[in-house]
Each structure stands twice: as structure tokens, then as C-alpha cells.
């Protein structure tokens, strides 16, 4: 192999990559926020008394989890215009991602809620709280704490998955990498650098989620009372 790596043509276009990274980041952040809300709402709906509602949520979750994100994206961006619903690339992408993330989040949140001991709910009911109050005031926080690691990795996977948005023309990090590739023919270098950007972003996500966990969920341990000193 006598290939000389030349990163300079790629690095001299770092501003383009950074612009793409900014697009990737804001889309990811918005989708995570919205997808989390869909997940919470869906998880509550899946515990509803109304059978049709439970059935609907079940169907939604199964439909999304058993089809590829790329198929969902193409269905929304290329398929819906067949029905007269025409969307620009970024809104179509965001809808596809929120719908996708929402389904995975519902499963995680449901698991978290079910992990809270039933005695907690019983105690809340015994105190005269309504079911909704029990869910919001007693169950939700410990449930979120249990599900937090799974949520954090799901959100990171979502950020990485945004790379396929380049296929419908969203100008994200991966799209910019492809542009630079066609301008420089330094395919290996440009995709390696792009992967490096994604890796740093994933590590950044992990740091942010660890911080959020510490701020929201870490129990403040009260210092132990000083041991009684026995006078000699």
C-alpha cells in the first residue's frame, strides 16, 4: 500500500464540517426534546383505561420498531407527496426522527414506570391521591432515574442516526463530508474526520447526560452524624 494520507484538503474545509455539525446538533437537540415528550405521552397513554388508546400506542410502537428509519424517512419525504402532503427536507426529517425516537422512548419509559415498586403506587392511593397525581408526583422521578441510562444511549444513537438525513438533502455533518469528498477525492480522510466529529459529539453527549443525571437524580447523602465520643 503506497497511499499517502493528506488531511490538509479536508481540514482546510473544516468550516464546512462545523456548519454541518451545527445543523446535526440543533436537529438532534430538537428531536430529542420532542421525541422525549412523545415518549412520555405515549407511555402514559399505553397505561390508559381506554382499550383503543392502548391498542393505538401498541400499534404505533410496533410499526416503528420493526421498520428501518430510512424507510420511514423515505415514506415521509418521498411517499407523502403522493397524497399531496409535500414537506421540505428539514421538517420531513424532523417528523421522521421524532416519530421514530418517540416509539423507542415509549418502550423505555414504560419499562421505567413498571420498575417502580407497586407498593409506592398503593401508598399514594392510600394517601388519597388520584392516579394521575400518583404517576406525576410519586412514580415519575424514580422511574426516570431507572430509565436514564437507556434513554441517554437511545438519544446518542439518534444523534448518530441523523447522518442518514444527508440522503434527502439536509445539510448536516454527513452531507458536508460528502460535498468535501466530491470536491477533493480524499474519501478516506474526509469520512475519517467526519467520524471523528461524530465520536467527539457522542462523547460530549455522554458528558452532558452524566451532568444532567448528577444534577437531577443524585441523592444528596446527608453526612453521617459524628460518632459519639466516649469520654475516657
Amino acid at each position: 500500500m503506497n497511499y499517502t494520507f493528506r488531511f490538509s484538503p479536508v481540514l482546510s474545509r473544516a468550516d464546512q464540517l462545523l456548519a454541518g455539525l451545527a445543523e446535526t446538533l440543533w436537529i438532534s437537540a430538537a428531536v430529542i426534546a420532542l421525541g422525549f415528550l412523545v415518549g412520555l405521552g405515549g407511555a402514559f397513554a399505553s397505561r390508559s383505561h381506554l382499550k383503543p388508546l392502548r391498542f393505538l400506542v401498541r400499534g404505533y410502537v410496533e410499526a416503528i420498531r420493526n421498520t428501518p428509519l430510512l424507510a420511514q424517512l423515505f415514506f415521509i419525504y418521498f411517499g407523502l407527496p403522493g397524497l399531496g402532503i409535500r414537506l421540505d427536507a428539514v421538517p420531513a426529517a424532523m417528523i421522521a426522527l421524532v416519530v421514530n425516537l418517540g416509539a423507542y422512548t415509549i418502550e423505555i419509559v414504560r419499562g421505567g414506570i413498571e420498575a417502580v415498586p407497586k407498593g409506592q403506587t398503593d401508598a399514594g392511593i392510600a394517601l388519597g391521591l388520584t392516579r394521575r397525581q400518583v404517576l406525576l408526583l410519586i412514580v415519575l422521578k424514580p422511574a426516570l432515574k431507572v430509565m436514564f441510562p437507556a434513554l441517554a444511549s437511545q438519544f446518542t444513537l439518534l444523534m448518530l442516526a441523523t447522518s442518514i438525513l444527508s440522503q434527502i438533502g439536509v445539510e448536516d455533518l454527513f452531507h458536508m463530508a460528502s460535498l468535501i469528498d466530491s470536491a477533493t477525492y480524499r474519501s478516506f480522510e474526509v469520512y475519517a474526520v467526519a467520524c471523528g466529529f461524530y465520536l467527539l459529539t457522542a462523547l460530549g453527549f455522554r458528558a452532558v447526560f452524566a451532568l444532567i443525571y448528577r444534577l437531577v437524580f443524585s441523592e444528596r447523602v446527608r453526612p453521617a452524624p459524628p460518632a459519639a465520643v466516649v469520654p475516657p
Binding site: M1, N2, Y3, E62, A63, R65, N66, T67, P68, L69, L70, A71, Q72, F74, F75, F78, G79, L80, P81, G82, L83, T156, L160, A161, S163, I164, S166, Q167, F174, A177, S178, D181, Y185, R186, S187, F188, E189, Y191, A192, A194, C195, Y198, L199, A202, L203
Partner: protein
């Protein structure tokens, strides 16, 4: 003129599904072999080997599959390695899968009580034999449900191979759409076909998990 979407087009999509299954099979075999290697390194008593495995897992899990695919398919030929679409897709999916499967399996191996290692060591079995004869058979029952779940992930991820032009279900859908211009029906049918492939596996994985939970 555009063709209408009819049974012939549905047949074309179904023939694409065949290649999705074939690619999944190759990628699953590759992920399994590579994943097993990463697992052995990851639980090795030698620290540098463990670190190497951790680095591999972190690097793969922290980068998008599309990046691996493009690095291999567009990057390697410039260095003089000709890679076909099938080789590129199989290798990229195997590399990607190895990082996830090895972690799933490590969870299963660590789910086996430590006393089992100690007992087999006390019987004088060398480390690899302990793993093969004592730990793996027990870990297997823990590992199978999430492994089937991962298989579903792999099926879905094969759709990315369409981006480098490998003709499987997603790529066939683009071609049929180009000929019929009935995107709603084409992409709708495509999703239904993926669902038909994935849903039984998802249900199976869930049933296995439930049975294991009862057995415990």
C-alpha cells in the same frame, strides 16, 4: 410512460427482500465471529487486550454506521483495495454489529455467577476451556433473546446498503418508484415487507425473554 404499480412490481420488491435477507445473514455471521473475538478480548485477564476491546467498542458505538460504510466503500479503493458493494456492506455491518453483539454477550457472560468461574478454575480448566465448557452454555440462555432483538436491528440497518447502491429491498424500492412514480404505494409496501420480516423476530425475542423470566 410510467408503469402502474401492480403484482409485478410487488414481486420486484419481494425479490429485493431476498437480498435483504442474504445481506442480513452474511452480516450476522460476520458480526457474530468478530463479536466473539471482541468479547474474548474484552473479558481477557490481560489489561492491554481489555483496553483494546473497549476502545474498539467505544469507537464503533460512537460513530454512525453510514460513516463506516462510506469509509470502506469509498475510502479503501483509493488505497488500492477494490471492494465490491457486497463486501463493503458485509464488512461495515459486521464491524458495527461486533461492537453491539460483544456487549450484549458480555452482559450474558457476566450474568453467570462468579462462583462458576471459580469452580471451573478449581477443577484445573484453562481459561478458554472454562469459558467454552462452563460459562458459555449458561450465558447462552441469557444471551439468546437480546441477540434475536439485535438481529432485528441488523435487518433494519441493511437498508443503509441501498445508499451505496447495493440492490436490496430499499434500493429496489427506489428503482420501482423511479419506474412507476407511485411513491406512497411503493414506500408503503416496502415498510410492510420490512415489518413482515422483523415483527415475527421481535415477537419471538419477547417470548424467549418471557420464558426465561419464568424459568428463573
Amino acid at each position: 410512460m410510467f408503469r402502474n404499480f401492480g403484482p409485478g412490481e410487488l414481486l420486484l420488491l419481494a425479490s429485493g427482500l431476498r437480498w435483504t435477507v442474504a445481506l442480513t445473514a452474511l452480516a450476522f455471521a460476520g458480526s457474530g465471529l468478530l463479536g466473539l473475538l471482541v468479547l474474548v478480548l474484552r473479558v481477557s485477564p490481560a489489561r492491554p487486550l481489555r483496553l483494546l476491546a473497549m476502545l474498539w467498542i467505544q469507537a464503533i458505538q460512537g460513530t454512525p454506521l453510514l460513516g463506516h460504510l462510506f469509509l470502506i466503500f469509498f475510502g479503501l479503493p483509493l488505497m488500492g483495495f477494490e471492494v465490491s458493494r457486497w463486501v463493503a456492506a458485509t464488512v461495515a455491518l459486521s464491524v458495527y454489529g461486533s461492537a453491539f453483539l460483544s456487549e450484549i454477550w458480555r452482559g450474558a457472560v457476566e450474568g453467570v455467577p462468579k462462583g462458576q468461574w471459580e469452580a471451573s478454575a478449581a477443577l484445573g480448566l484453562p481459561r478458554l476451556l472454562q469459558l467454552r465448557k462452563v460459562i458459555l452454555p449458561q450465558a447462552l440462555t441469557i444471551a439468546i433473546p437480546p441477540t434475536v432483538g439485535f438481529l432485528v436491528q441488523l435487518i433494519k440497518n441493511t437498508s443503509l446498503a441501498s445508499i451505496i447502491g447495493l440492490i436490496e429491498l430499499s434500493r429496489e424500492a427506489q428503482l420501482v418508484n423511479g419506474a412507476t412514480f407511485a411513491p406512497f404505494v411503493v414506500y408503503g409496501c416496502t415498510s410492510v415487507l420490512y415489518f413482515a420480516l422483523c415483527f415475527p423476530l421481535t415477537s419471538w425475542s419477547r417470548a424467549l425473554e418471557a420464558r426465561r423470566a419464568v424459568a428463573r
